[in-house]
C-alpha cells in the first residue's frame, strides 16, 4: 500500500501536476489579493468605515474560497478518476496486479497518495489566500484552519467518489460523473434553502437527503461558516439566518457534529465499496 501511495505522489510530481497547481495557486492568490486590496483601498478612499470594509472583504473572500472549492473539486475528480481506471485501460495494471499485492492495496495506496496531494494543495492554497488577504486588508476570518480543513474534506469526498467510479468506468466517464454529481449536490443545497423559504416540506427533505448522499455541499457550508465573521451571522439573526441558507455563500450554523461524522463514515464506506468493486473486477 505504501509503495502505491508513494508511486501516486511521485506521479503527481513527475507529471508536473504539483508544479502546475503551485503556479496556479500563486497566480490566483496574487490576482485575487490584488483585487481585494484594490477594492478595500477604494472603499477607504470613499470614506467607508472599517467595519463595512471588513464585511465586504469577508464576502469577497468567501467568493474566492468558492473558486478554490471548485478548483479543488475538479482537481479531485480528474486526479482520482484515472488513478485506477487509467491503469486498467492502458494495461499498466496487468503487470502490477499479477504481483503479490492485494487489490485493496492498490485502491488504498492510490487513495492515500491522492489524499496527500490534494490535502496539501487545498490547505496550503486556502491558508495562503487568507494570509495574503489578511496582510493586505487587515481582515482575518474567525477560523481559517477549520475552513481550510473543510475545503480539503470536500475534495477528499469527491476524490473518493471518483476513485470508486474509476474502478468500473473509463477515466473520462468517471471524472465526468463525479463532477456532475458534485454540481447536483451543490444545487440541492440551494434548493433546500429555497424550499425552506417557501415551506415545501418534501423538497426540503429531498434536498437535505442529497446532502447526506453526497456530503460535498454540506462540507462547503462548513468552509463558508468558518470564513463568515460572527457579526454577519449575528446580524442575520435566528429568523433570517436559516432563510438566507438558500444563498450558497452563506451558512448560519456550522455543520452538525453528526454530519461531520457521517462524512468521515461516508468516505470509509465508499472506499470499502471501491475495494470491493476492484476486487470483483476482471482486468
Amino acid at each position: 500500500m505504501r509503495t502505491i501511495a508513494w508511486l501516486t505522489v511521485r506521479e503527481a510530481a513527475r507529471r508536473r501536476l504539483l508544479w502546475l497547481l503551485l503556479i496556479l495557486t500563486v497566480g490566483s492568490v496574487a490576482l485575487t489579493g490584488w483585487g481585494i486590496e484594490r477594492l478595500a483601498s477604494l472603499a477607504r478612499e470613499n470614506g467607508a468605515d472599517e467595519l463595512s470594509i471588513r464585511l465586504g472583504v469577508s464576502q469577497v473572500l468567501i467568493l474566492v474560497a468558492f473558486m478554490f472549492s471548485f478548483v479543488v473539486a475538479m482537481t479531485a475528480a480528474f486526479l482520482a478518476a484515472p488513478a485506477i481506471a487509467g491503469d486498467i485501460e492502458s494495461g499498466v495494471a496487468l503487470a502490477m496486479l499479477a504481483r503479490p499485492i492485494r487489490r485493496a492495496d492498490l485502491v488504498l495506496g492510490r487513495w492515500l497518495g491522492l489524499v496527500a496531494v490534494l490535502s496539501v494543495y487545498a490547505i496550503a492554497s486556502a491558508l495562503l489566500e487568507i494570509a495574503v488577504v489578511g496582510v493586505l486588508t487587515g481582515h482575518t476570518p474567525p477560523q481559517p484552519v477549520l475552513a481550510a480543513l473543510y475545503l480539503a474534506g470536500q475534495g477528499i469526498v469527491l476524490l473518493t467518489l471518483a476513485l470508486l467510479l474509476g474502478t468500473r468506468l473509463p477515466p473520462v466517464g468517471a471524472g465526468a460523473v463525479a463532477v456532475v454529481l458534485f454540481g447536483l449536490a451543490w444545487m440541492a443545497g440551494v434548493f433546500a434553502g429555497i424550499a425552506r423559504l417557501f415551506d415545501v416540506e418534501i423538497l426540503v427533505t429531498a434536498a437535505r437527503a442529497s446532502r447526506w448522499v453526497l456530503p460535498t455541499d454540506g462540507l462547503w457550508r462548513g468552509v463558508v461558516f468558518h470564513l463568515e465573521p460572527p457579526i454577519v451571522i449575528a446580524g442575520a439573526g435566528p429568523t433570517v439566518g436559516p432563510i438566507a441558507d438558500a444563498n450558497p455563500f452563506y451558512a448560519s450554523t456550522p455543520p452538525p457534529t453528526e454530519f461531520v461524522a457521517w462524512s468521515v463514515g461516508w468516505v470509509v464506506v465508499v472506499l470499502a465499496l471501491a475495494v470491493w468493486s476492484l476486487h470483483r473486477r476482471e482486468v
Binding site: 496487468l94 499479477a98 504481483r99
Partner: protein
C-alpha cells in the same frame, strides 16, 4: 528462487471461463512440468490470453481447478515467485526504466538488498543497461517490450508467463528473446510461452499445447507431435529397378517426379541417395524432416473450418484463415 511447494509448475483441470454467453475457455486441462519451456499455441480467440489471466488471478475461472507451483490460484506467496509479461505491455511512462524494475521488485516483495543486483542482471539480459536511466515514455515499443521482459524475469522467478514476448521486436530482438528464454530454462525457470510465431516456438519449446475453442486439442513433445521423419526426393530418370531398391528403406510413394519414403530412419538418408544415384537417377532435391509445426498446427486448427477472416481477439475460438499464407495469424 526457492521452490518449497511440490507439484508441476502449472496444472489445470477442466478450467472454464465464460463472459456472459461467450465461451473463452472450455475444459482446459494441461500440465506444465517444472523447468521446461512450454509453448501455448492456438488461433486468435482460442483462449490463450484468457487462460494466462485466469492462472494469474486477473480473471476468475467459471469452473474447474488450477494450481501454480503446487498451490491454488491466487496464492500470494506463489505470485511472488512468478513473472509475467502481458501481451498488452505498458509501464509508467513517467518512470525511468530502472525505476519500473525497482517498483516491480517492491511489488514482488523481493529483498531490498538484492534489488540493485537483480535489476542490473535483467537490464543486461534484455540489453537495456544503457537506457536504464531514460524515461519509459521515450522508449520505442520494442524497448518497452524488453523492459517488460526484464520485469518478468526480475529476481529469477520459478515460473514466467510470456504472452507474445516478441510481438514488437525485430528479427535480432527475436533472436535475443530466444537466447533469454534458453538462459532462463538453464537457471531452472519454467517458461510458459504464448506466441503466434510458430518457428519461434519450434526452436525454444520442449513441449507445446495447441488450444482451440478453449480446449487443448493436441499436446506433447515436439517430436511426438510432429511424428516420425519422412524423406521426399525430387529426381529424374528413376527406373523401376531403382524403386525396388528403395523399398528396402521403407514404404515408397511416387507422385510425378517426387518420391516419398515415410517413415525414414534419418541415418539412412545418405544410403537412399546413394542407391538412387547408383541406379542412374538424377537427384534434384532432398528434403528429410518431420514437417513443420506450422503444417501440423494448420492441419489441426483449420480442419473442418471454412477459410475466412479471424474473429475478435481471444474470445470464443472463431474461424481463422486456412492455408500456407496463414503464417503468423495464429495466437
Amino acid at each position: 528462487m526457492s521452490t518449497p511447494s511440490a507439484g508441476p509448475a502449472v496444472r489445470t483441470e477442466r478450467l472454464a471461463k465464460r463472459y456472459g454467453r461467450t465461451v473463452a475457455l472450455e475444459d482446459l486441462s494441461m500440465t506444465v512440468e517444472r523447468g521446461e519451456v512450454f509453448g501455448f499455441l492456438g488461433p486468435n480467440g482460442a483462449g490463450k490470453t484468457t487462460a494466462v489471466k485466469v492462472l494469474l488471478g486477473l480473471a476468475r475461472p467459471s469452473r474447474g481447478r488450477a494450481e501454480l507451483l503446487g498451490r491454488r490460484l491466487g496464492d500470494r506467496d506463489v505470485r511472488a515467485r512468478i513473472g509475467y509479461l502481458p501481451e498488452l505491455f505498458r509501464y509508467q511512462a513517467w518512470l525511468r526504466g530502472r525505476e519500473v524494475l525497482e517498483l516491480h521488485a517492491r511489488l514482488a516483495r523481493h529483498p531490498a538488498d538484492r534489488t540493485p543486483k537483480n535489476v542490473e542482471e535483467v537490464l543486461g539480459l534484455v540489453g537495456l543497461a544503457d537506457r536504464a536511466e531514460s524515461f519509459v515514455g521515450t522508449y520505442s515499443k520494442g524497448m518497452q517490450q524488453r523492459l517488460g521482459l526484464a520485469a518478468a524475469l526480475l529476481g529469477r522467478p520459478d515460473l514466467v508467463f510470456l504472452d507474445e514476448p516478441t510481438s514488437a521486436l525485430d528479427p535480432v530482438g527475436r533472436l535475443d528473446v530466444r537466447t533469454i528464454i534458453r538462459r532462463a530454462r538453464e537457471r531452472g525457470t519454467t517458461v510458459f510461452l504464448n506466441s503466434h510465431l510458430l518457428t519461434e516456438v519450434e526452436r525454444v519449446c520442449d513441449r507445446v499445447a495447441i488450444v482451440d475453442g478453449g480446449k487443448v486439442i493436441a499436446a506433447g513433445r515436439l517430436d511426438e507431435l510432429l511424428g516420425r521423419p519422412a524423406l521426399t526426393i525430387r529426381a529424374a530418370g528413376v527406373s523401376a529397378e531403382a524403386l525396388m531398391a528403395l523399398a528396402a528403406f521403407g514404404p515408397v510413394e511416387v507422385r510425378d517426379d517426387r518420391l516419398r519414403i515415410d517413415p525414414i530412419d534419418p541415418a539412412r538418408v545418405p544410403d537412399v541417395v546413394a542407391a538412387l544415384v547408383a541406379k542412374g537417377a538424377r537427384i534434384q532435391d532432398v528434403d528429410a524432416g518431420r514437417g513443420s509445426l506450422e503444417d501440423h498446427f494448420i492441419a489441426l486448427v483449420s480442419g473442418g473450418r471454412a477459410p475466412g477472416p479471424a474473429g475478435p481477439a481471444d474470445t470464443a475460438g472463431p474461424a481463422r484463415p486456412a492455408g500456407p499464407d496463414a503464417d503468423d495469424a495464429t495466437a
